[in-house]
């Protein structure tokens, strides 16, 4: 049935399409082009080929930024994939006051990362609550300078990211847990499976898809980390700027009248390629069944052949 004139749908999607072109595709193409130039503000850009990318290998700051982001990924992914799942299991069943708990667990998510990072800064500062606690219990004599050591600073930022992300991924899992059949749980329990066994054998396979989704989201988010490290180090990137993440490096490179826009674009391009890696990995894993099937069928034929051979030998 014709409900409208032919151009109506085009008019309706036009704003969204314009926005995608002007504020996503165009800047992306521009980034790709700029990555091969030595563009700076107030100066015409010159094409320099792969020079920016060559510079990356020698640039110590880029090495540190890359390793910071990778450490972030390696620590955040397992923590933020499984802790929220356990939390979701804890708040999954309707018991009195559960709505209150769910809502408050979500508070860190909606608070601005700047605000919570400032709170974190107080808690972990030289004279902050964490140090007072450590001294109170006699674990340390002198306060630990959490925020002026590269790894400790990154550790604090990871703690902050995990604390802030728990509620978000909890909600993702909550929506998924509703689809795990309780019959399976009951059947497993009848067969004598305890809580732990049921968790690994029923719940985890049941939410396999969401686990993949969450780990990809966490991974991409961890590569893109900025605010936590920026605020905790007061914009400096820690001692000698060595706790900078890749995005912090891009931001500090590209700003100001002397900004190296071309070089910053090259780093952006590397960042983009890195965010595609987890997606590619999941793509392979999702198709791994086909691969596994192929391997398994090969093993079966091999076993059959061996069996036949053994039979023949016995005869």
């Amino acid at each position: 049935m014709q409900r409208q004139r032919w151009f109506t749908p085009y008019l309706l999607v036009l704003p969204a399409v314009i926005w995608v072109f002007v504020f996503a595709l165009w800047p992306f193409l521009n980034t790709v082009v700029l990555a091969f130039t030595d563009a700076r503000p107030l100066r015409p850009a010159r094409f320099v080929g792969l020079e920016n990318f060559g510079k990356l290998f020698e640039d110590e700051r880029f090495g540190y930024a890359l390793s910071t982001s990778l450490v972030y990924v390696v620590v955040c992914v397992p923590l933020l994939t499984f802790l929220p799942l356990l939390l979701a299991l804890l708040v999954h069943h309707k018991i009195p006051a559960i709505g209150f708990f769910r809502t408050t667990f979500y508070f860190p998510v909606i608070a601005s990362a700047v605000v919570v990072a400032i709170v974190w800064e107080f808690l972990f500062s030289g004279s902050g609550t964490v140090n007072s606690a450590l001294q109170f219990f006699g674990f340390v004599d002198r306060p630990i300078e959490f925020l002026s050591d590269r790894l400790l600073l990154i550790g604090c930022a990871v703690g902050l990211t995990v604390w802030k992300g728990l509620g978000y991924y909890m909600v993702v899992y909550l929506a998924a847990l509703g689809n795990v059949g309780r019959e399976l749980h009951e059947a497993a329990a009848t067969d004598g499976a305890g809580w732990w066994r049921r968790f690994w054998s029923v719940t985890v396979p049941g939410v396999r898809g969401p686990i993949m989704l969450v780990s990809v989201l966490v991974c991409v988010g961890a590569i893109r980390v900025f605010t936590e490290l920026y605020v905790l180090s007061n914009g400096s990137g820690g001692p000698g700027g060595r706790a900078m993440s890749m995005v912090m490096l891009i931001q500090s490179m590209g700003k100001g009248l002397n900004g190296q826009i071309g070089y910053a674009s090259a780093i952006s391009l590397v960042l983009f390629l890195l965010t595609l890696v987890p997606l590619a990995v999941v793509g392979v894993l999702n198709n791994s069944d086909t691969i596994k099937d192929a391997l398994a069928s090969r093993r079966v034929t091999k076993a059959a052949r061996v069996a036949r051979a053994a039979k023949g030998a016995a005869r």
């Binding site: 049935m1 409900r3 409208q4 109506t8 749908p9 085009y10 309706l12 999607v13 704003p15 969204a16 399409v17 995608v20 072109f21 996503a24 595709l25 165009w26 800047p27 521009n30 980034t31 939390l87 804890l90 018991i95 009195p96 709505g99 708990f101 809502t103 408050t104 667990f105 979500y106 508070f107 860190p108 909606i110 608070a111 601005s112 700047v114 605000v115 974190w120 107080f122 609550t129 007072s132 001294q135 909550l174 929506a175 509703g178 749980h185 900025f226 605010t227 920026y230 605020v231 914009g235 995005v247 891009i250 931001q251 590209g254 700003k255 900004g259 826009i261 952006s268 983009f272 965010t275």
Partner: protein, 301 residues
């Protein structure tokens, strides 16, 4: 057999939150299990809200009170609002809040209006080139905003919007993900309803208003809430766009306050409270709709 008996005997009674003797409902925890569960919930609650409570109590403490003691006391001995007065003296915090509010409300309005329009067209109308449009919008999901940061700034600068709130607002005005979310819920609207409205003489605007809108309100509340939170909490983009402290939004203003007045944590605590309380209150008011919308979206999408 025994399970059936237990069910028939307990049916008239009020349902208990824990597993009673003889009940075969293994999905329910036993009574000690339930108590353990609450203990764990309260422990996690403590971890989740302690930093906020501590910050709030710091913001009400006088200059002479020690804020570094352990064990920390959450109740200030002599509550004072001096710190809040000091925030107002240190930075134009009301201006910053106003800027954040403008950007947030603007983002909500444009996202809801244009994502609903686009979602309606993509979800219910067949037209030539639809799959190309969907593919273009989908592809931008793979593109993190951080990647285009530098070029985005160049775009905004060439539009003459550097160091303005318009520059902060525009790139986020229509988010691709919102268009896709609205497309997903619009697909659920029965086409017969839309046809019936057309026969009754409704034009596109009237259909959007009277048929589509009531059907997608759940998702709209999720889109609106996330758009507002995203705009209110965003830090990197305003930090890049805004160079003049007079134009800052709250988050950039808070970082400014924190790095320039580091000597007085009480004032900074008061500042963060000003940034935090409105968004927490907003969420607490809308949380029922939000959680319902999230469940709806996941079941349908």
């Amino acid at each position: 057999m025994s399970a059936a008996q237990a069910q028939t005997t307990t049916a008239p009674r009020r349902e208990k939150a824990y597993r009673t003797r003889g009940s075969a409902d293994i999905m329910k925890p036993s009574l000690p299990g339930l108590i353990g569960k609450y203990a764990l919930l309260i422990l996690i609650l403590g971890i989740m809200v302690f930093p906020f409570l501590w910050q709030m109590s710091t913001s009400f403490r006088g200059a002479t009170e020690n804020i570094y003691d352990f064990p920390p006391s959450l109740i200030p001995a002599a509550p004072t609002i001096d710190n809040y007065a000091n925030v107002f003296r240190a930075i134009p915090v009301l201006d910053y809040a106003w800027h954040s509010l403008l950007v947030g409300v603007g983002t909500v309005i444009t996202n809801v209006v244009f994502a609903t329009m686009g979602g309606y067209a993509l979800g219910t109308i067949k037209f030539r080139g639809k799959w190309i449009v969907l593919a273009i919008i989908f592809s931008t999901l793979l593109l993190p905003a951080e990647v285009t940061l530098t070029s985005q700034y160049l775009t905004v600068k060439s539009l003459g919007l550097a160091n303005t709130l318009w520059g902060v607002f525009l790139p986020g005005a229509i988010a691709a993900i919102n268009v896709l979310l609205m497309t997903a819920v619009c697909r659920m609207i029965p086409p017969d309803t839309l046809d019936a409205a057309t026969i009754d003489g409704a034009n596109t605007m009237e259909r959007l208003r009277h048929i589509v809108w009531p059907n997608v309100r759940g998702m709209v509340s999720v889109v609106a809430l996330f758009a507002f939170i995203g705009a209110w909490d965003d830090f990197l983009w305003p930090l890049v766009v805004l160079s003049d402290p007079a134009n800052y939004t709250l988050t950039v203003g808070m970082q400014y306050l924190s790095s320039n007045f580091a000597a007085n944590p009480r004032v900074i605590a008061a500042g963060t409270m000003i940034a935090l309380v409105p968004i927490i209150v907003l969420f607490a008011v809308l949380q029922k709709q939000f959680f319902r919308g999230v469940e709806e979206g996941s079941v349908k999408g």
